[in-house]
Amino acid sequence: MTASTDYTAQEIIVVAGSKILEDRKVVFVGTGLPMVASLLAKLTHAPGLIPVFEAGAVGPPLKVGLPLSVGDSKTFTSATYLKGLNAAFEMTQRGFADIGFIGGAEVDMYGNLNSTMIGNFPDGYQKPKVRLPGSGGASDMAASCERTILIVPHDKRKFNKKLQYVTSPGFLDGSPNARYNVGLQGKGPYRVITTKAILDFDEETHRMRILQVFPGETVESVQAATGFELLVAPNVSTFPAPTVEEVRMIREDIDPTQAFVKRSPKQTSDGIDSNDQMPFLTPKNERMLHASQQS
């Protein structure tokens, strides 16, 4: 398995996310890179992975390609159960989701996430500096999935000691039983995947901890890009670069139109993904994707 030499930061996130997903488990898939990672897992080591999408699809084989939305028509084709949002979240609240796979714009050392607003909270809540999309289902997934995997681009502005708004609860203040005590279910964040490393949480303190660094990164470089002090696991290793085949699958089979995995992502001046290069998924691309995955 030859290592890729031209993979992007998003691509290694996808590969890392995919490898964390175990076969035959139920994964509640958030929008964006989690969808790409879940599809890669299903096409490689985890064919029995059971994806659940918040708009209501349970267990689709995803043979018609990468969904552009968690309510996409593609999530419903050959799904085994298909209702609406309430049903998906009720199942999760009941305990049917082993893993929730979510993103956020800002994370703290206890794995709490912000996807609501940048600005002065609470006074500036009604007039934020940057208004983010809002929770979507992330807050619910964080509250009720048994474990969660978080994806956050590694940047000092995004790894903060104190969040401007807690949208999706992690270990809260990190105190023992903090989640249980406020009425939450599930054991909380399991992994954080960033553009630089894979992190987990210390069992005692619930503080974020470097588990593996990506090629070219060190414990020091990861810490330098983080706005709070990270713990360091014993024997931090380097997560291997994606293989040529993994990168090919992402680029050609899974996300050929760069719906989520950009070759060179653009950022707006305020650091928010603008997605302004979003291509229209043409029928031609569609057909190729479809054909390759049905084989």
């Binding site: 708009a55 419903f76 609470p122 992330a138 009425g183 302004d276």
Partner: protein, 338 residues
Amino acid sequence: MEKKSGMYWTGLSPDEAREKLVNKDKSMRDKRMPLKQAVAEFIKDGDNVGIGGFVNIRQPIAITHEMVRHGFKELTLSWQSAGMAPDYLAGAMMLDPDRFSIKRIEMAYWAHEAFGLSPMFRYLAERGLIEIEDWSNYNMSARFKAGAMGLPFLPTRGPLGSDITQTSRTNVVDCPFTGRPIALLPACNPDVAIIHVQAADMYGNCIIRGTDCTCAEIAMASAHTIVTCEQLVAHELVVSNPKDVIIPFLAVDAIVEVPFGSYPGACRRHYYFDGEHIKQFHAAAETMRKEGRSDLLQAYYAENIFGVETFGDFISKFPFEKILAAQTAESFNYERLA
């Protein structure tokens, strides 16, 4: 339980919602009418409008176009996750708040997933022009469900541990059975629901393909419901498999056949997204957000909304190849013989 201090209802209180329904003619009658009439008859200034669909899936786009043409003031908009539907309403407010205005939104997400952020939302929010009440997708879905069930609230875990409990009317209490905290969410009973579905009969029995979203709950919770559908079909066809009916006629006031009624969003079995058009609309709004120039957005509305009489006229502006491409793209998702 102690009464939550500072509690208020937007839209209808549970008792008002019940009263409206009790006094309504619930008979099975022909509810077909032009969209213009439906919007004029069932939506009023100041209403709480419940918006169906999810992000850009099966959003009631045709209805929002008609609402913009009609003009409404001081609306409260309620939904879980939405894209183009509130974009169209918000864009109208950006251009002329005296003609169209949103007072308040109650929602979980306003953006476009693969198609990016909403420049309209950023414009209105970052200038403090609308009241915002943030919830999660499950929160909003459960609030509509409470309304649909005739209950003042539903319990959920969803907002626990998050600042949503601080910025919303959530009431966190200790469960009287377990002793553990649980969140109670006040019901959402909109004055009017706007919904697009794949098929319906003239009485308003609705069939939805793909995600049900929270459409049935929104319709059942609201005092009035306007439904547009891709296909108006015979009642006998609908009841040949009554389990397909997700919204019963009882909950529907107006039914309008509007093919492509969710375009440029997607509608399962009918058409996939038109990302290019979404992008074009957003570019116009983003220019106004960033540079303050309204000319592009003005031009978009002039051409696509104010410059046409009906949503059919809007769809007719697209080249045939474009429409066919959207249909063909969807045919890969759901293959069937005609």
